[in-house]
């Protein structure tokens, strides 16, 4: 049984301007202990996918498909059941710790929340655990820092507190949404180091959502490249960097400042008005008539290497 299996997932939002098709027929598996990086540009639906797993999306959403976690469908569970999973078995680390933390509660109280809720510990025991956790994410003088408020923390420290909050119940899956975005390079290096250490020790699986391929390369085993609403390539880190198959992946790699800074012409399509056929065809230099009319399926091109492109048909 696959640890987490996303099957034919579709997520559409209903807005005044029309349906925003954020996720269109995504299939994705994560094995136990595996670290998967979900890469894409702003507005490609990667965060929506992460939120859909924990059912954190708003009411005006239509979600179709199945998300099987250890064989059980998260989408059809009762609210009571999903609440038992959130934070305990699947936890989330959000992008912007300042806006996702409660400004009027101390950091200690917030880190304690998941243990109090799921493990029913007494306040004192919970606090003991919180201090240990804060210490393990390497925040200095944990006793004092636990009594401080989020605004008294620096950006890096806040992100550490977020990680402590996410890992305190020893979840089996962590969904980390842009955990290092907005941090300085030196602080980013600290956080990446901390995350890889904590994940190695606990054997937790991870879905890392980011636009930064370099960070994903350091933390993940596999990469799924997303282009508005779908996965266009799935490969191991090595294959993706050494032997990218999809024209979008190649373009994405070439546009990195360290690899030539050659941009792909044009812009990503809006999720309201997606092109017919292959979503990438208007920007692709290999596009043919077939790409304009038909949507390619994911094809296996190597061991655990899949690509959605007619070039490999």
């Amino acid at each position: 049984m696959t640890f987490l299996s996303i099957q034919n997932l579709n997520v559409h939002f209903h807005t005044e301007d029309g349906a925003v098709r954020a996720v269109n027929g995504i299939d994705l598996d994560i094995e136990e202990g595996e670290k998967l990086g979900l890469i894409g540009e702003t507005g490609c639906g990667k965060t929506v996918l992460g939120m859909a797993i924990l059912r954190l999306l708003s009411e005006n959403t239509t979600i179709k498909g199945r998300i099987l976690y250890k064989g059980k469908d998260l989408l059809t569970m009762s609210d009571r059941e999903i609440r038992r999973i959130r934070g305990k078995e699947i936890a989330m680390i959000f992008q912007n710790p300042l806006s996702s933390m409660n400004p009027v509660l101390t950091v200690g109280t917030q880190v304690a929340e998941p243990v109090e809720l799921h493990q029913h510990l007494k306040k004192q025991d919970a606090m003991q655990k919180v201090i240990e956790m804060i210490k393990s994410v390497k925040i200095p003088s944990p006793h004092e820092r636990a009594k401080e408020y989020p605004h008294e923390f620096s950006g890096g420290m806040r992100q550490r507190a977020m990680i402590a909050m996410g890992l305190i119940c020893m979840p089996s899956l962590i969904i980390a949404d842009e955990p290092t975005t907005g941090l300085d390079v030196t602080i980013q290096a600290q956080i990446v180091e901390l995350m890889s250490e904590m994940l190695r020790d606990s054997g937790t699986s991870m879905l890392l959502i980011t636009h930064d391929l370099a960070v994903a390369a350091e933390l993940c085993d596999y990469i799924a490249m997303m282009y508005p609403g779908e996965i266009v390539e799935y490969a191991s880190i090595r294959d993706l960097f050494k032997d990218p198959k999809h024209p979008y992946t190649m373009g994405f790699l070439d546009s990195l400042p360290g690899r030539g800074l050659k941009p792909i012409a044009g812009l990503s399509p809006s999720l309201i008005n997606l092109p017919v056929g292959c979503k990438f065809h208007p920007r692709c230099s290999f596009a043919t008539k077939r790409c304009k009319n038909n949507r390619p399926e994911l094809i296996e091109v190597g061991k655990k290497h899949y690509v959605r492109c007619f070039l490999y048909d």
């Binding site: 030196t186 636009h211 990195l256």
Partner: protein
Amino acid sequence: MIEVCGLKKYFQTGGMFGKKFIKAVDGVDFEIEKGESLGLVGESGCGKTTVGRLILRLVEPTQGKVIIDGTNLFELSKKDLRKMRKKMQIIFQNPDASLDPRMRIGDCIAEPLKLYKVVNKKKMNDKIMQLIETVGLNPEHVNRYPHELSGGQNQRAVIARILAINPEFIVADEPTSALDVNVQAQILHIIRNVNEKFGLTCLFISHDLEVIKIMTDRVAVMYLGKLVEIGKTDQIFNGTKHPYTKALLSAIPVVDPDVKRKRIILKGDMPNPINPPSGCRFHTRCQYSEKICEIEEPVLIGNGHKVACHLR
């Protein structure tokens, strides 16, 4: 072309009784040659943006001089300053906030053209179209409002507006840090092209070392209000002599899974600029720190490639 001498800027905080000064820029010297692109790197809060704003006199300095073409910018009268401003322009980090939300893109670009009487009314439209084309926007964008365009398109419009008055010197303050990698590559290309085409002098401020590496001729590294190292881009990236620059460089994530770089992880955060450490400001986070570093402040010395470190 531009000479910066002993530039200082202290911001006052605290109330009547607890008056404190944030030493954002605390004695910075460097020069930029004509047609050169100088990169200014450092972590957030090191004062790099303040330096950029001081050079354009968008804020008044506490002390120091900025000499542009032989005149001290801070001694100019308001009228002369306005004339000088025609030569100097800035690209801000957030393009959506640098354009008036109630003005069409075309009007935004026309504004400096009218203000500085660059062209007459008849030729106005042609000039706008020409600018729009230079930055890779479509003619239809002229009648759109900023909220209808993407961040990358707005940043193009900002660049078009800057080019309208033919400046000689531009400050680019993190022009791509709010953009996706691919859009970032597009914008950096445009900046590099216009720099070459119009022979612009540029101060390129960024925290992203990889961007600095491809965009600049020389690099200045800033830490807590002071420069710690300055030199040719190649010297900094391949032969840095300062431990802080070393740590910064080693912190760049590697995009090649086969290369495992030995990383120097700096401990803790940058100290508070209200009360910077004694001696070398970096000694609290430096792995090579010795006694002298705590007592005496190192000065920036060297020929061409200058370093401020006792142990170099």
